[in-house]
Symmetry: C2
Subunit: 195 residues, 2 copies
């Protein structure tokens, strides 16, 4: 299977050549149209996804029907609802496609087996977990300590490409504010920084 995933395992995860077929050939693929649901609240998440193409989002819907975006996943990212995947509990979150998307689909068993076969994979998997924690900790720190403006500036600095690909109201949802507030924040910034 020559694919983005294959190349990713080889070049980024640094999986040894002899192990590659054992990993890359054991997974399946799935294509999603824009708007398609990949995981729904209440379901137990059985899979992890590697993004070959497109854009996914992980989000919740509260009692008032409002969406709150936990995470975006563009190309070359891994995405899952880890809580549900690892602990086997029903997910409190949704995953859907913001663009036409192609993902590689695998499960926790694959991760465990791959870690047995390839030490490089194991190392990389732990790196992903640590990196995930790092990002979440930073985000929590901003959410409890920074204004909406600072959080927005941090977001566009960290994800300049995403900022262009997703509608603003989703950025607002990610930041924990309303679209109207984000619009005002942006106006404030453009008045400070005329260009």
């Amino acid at each position: 299977m020559e694919s983005t995933f294959y190349n990713y395992l080889k070049k980024k995860v640094l999986v040894k050549s002899e192990h590659l077929p054992l990993l890359a050939d054991e997974v399946s693929k799935r294509a999603l149209s824009k708007g398609e649901l990949l995981l729904s609240e209440g379901q137990v998440c059985k899979n992890m996804f590697f993004m070959e193409k497109g854009l996914l989002r992980l989000y919740s819907i509260d009692e008032d029907g409002r969406e709150h975006i936990i995470q975006f996943a563009p190309e070359n990212w891994f995405l899952s609802e880890r809580d549900s995947l690892y602990f086997g509990t029903p997910s409190g979150f949704f995953i859907d496609a913001l663009e036409d998307t192609e993902v590689v689909v695998f499960d926790q068993q694959f991760v465990d087996r791959a870690s047995e076969i390839s030490p490089e994979y194991r190392t990389y998997n732990e790196y992903i977990l640590q990196n995930h924690i790092r990002h979440m900790q930073k985000r929590i720190n901003l959410l409890i300590g920074a204004t909406a403006e600072k959080r927005y500036l941090d977001f566009i600095k960290l994800y300049p490409d995403l900022t262009m690909r997703i509608p603003q109201w989703m950025v607002a949802s990610y930041l924990g504010i309303t679209p109207e507030s984000l619009s005002r924040v942006r106006r404030g910034l453009s008045q400070k920084n005329p260009e």
Copy 2:
């Protein structure tokens, strides 16, 4: 070394008896007085801590000198500034003791070696990472989607013991609001729920 840590490794982590001396005897201990700093901003965090006794907090201080509490760690918890520990970058956070505290001190090398020696330790270590992610994801979801009142109710339900041990202004800091606001939230609740 007969200790809380030893017992924890045996009973919770399920480390096999023959591996226990290889792990528990290889670590050092440290005692801290209430208020003592264990990690300061700018330092590279070299250690992970297992709480034998007492209470630690992980927090940041922003440009205005305000503290924002990322995490509390009571007995039997593991605590570290993982970002700094794993990636070797200077920490943006502080750790200090809220009570007289005794911790077991070890480093990333210990974790890696212990994972080699004991599969049970490796499994438990991953469990801790996954659990950490689970809690942070839930917290982010509340921070972007729930009112201060809901976040407070969730906190006291999740950490009833902590609520009694720490001053209220620290709970407020953890929730991302001011002490005054938390006081008002509590008044509102007591008027709704007279008991």
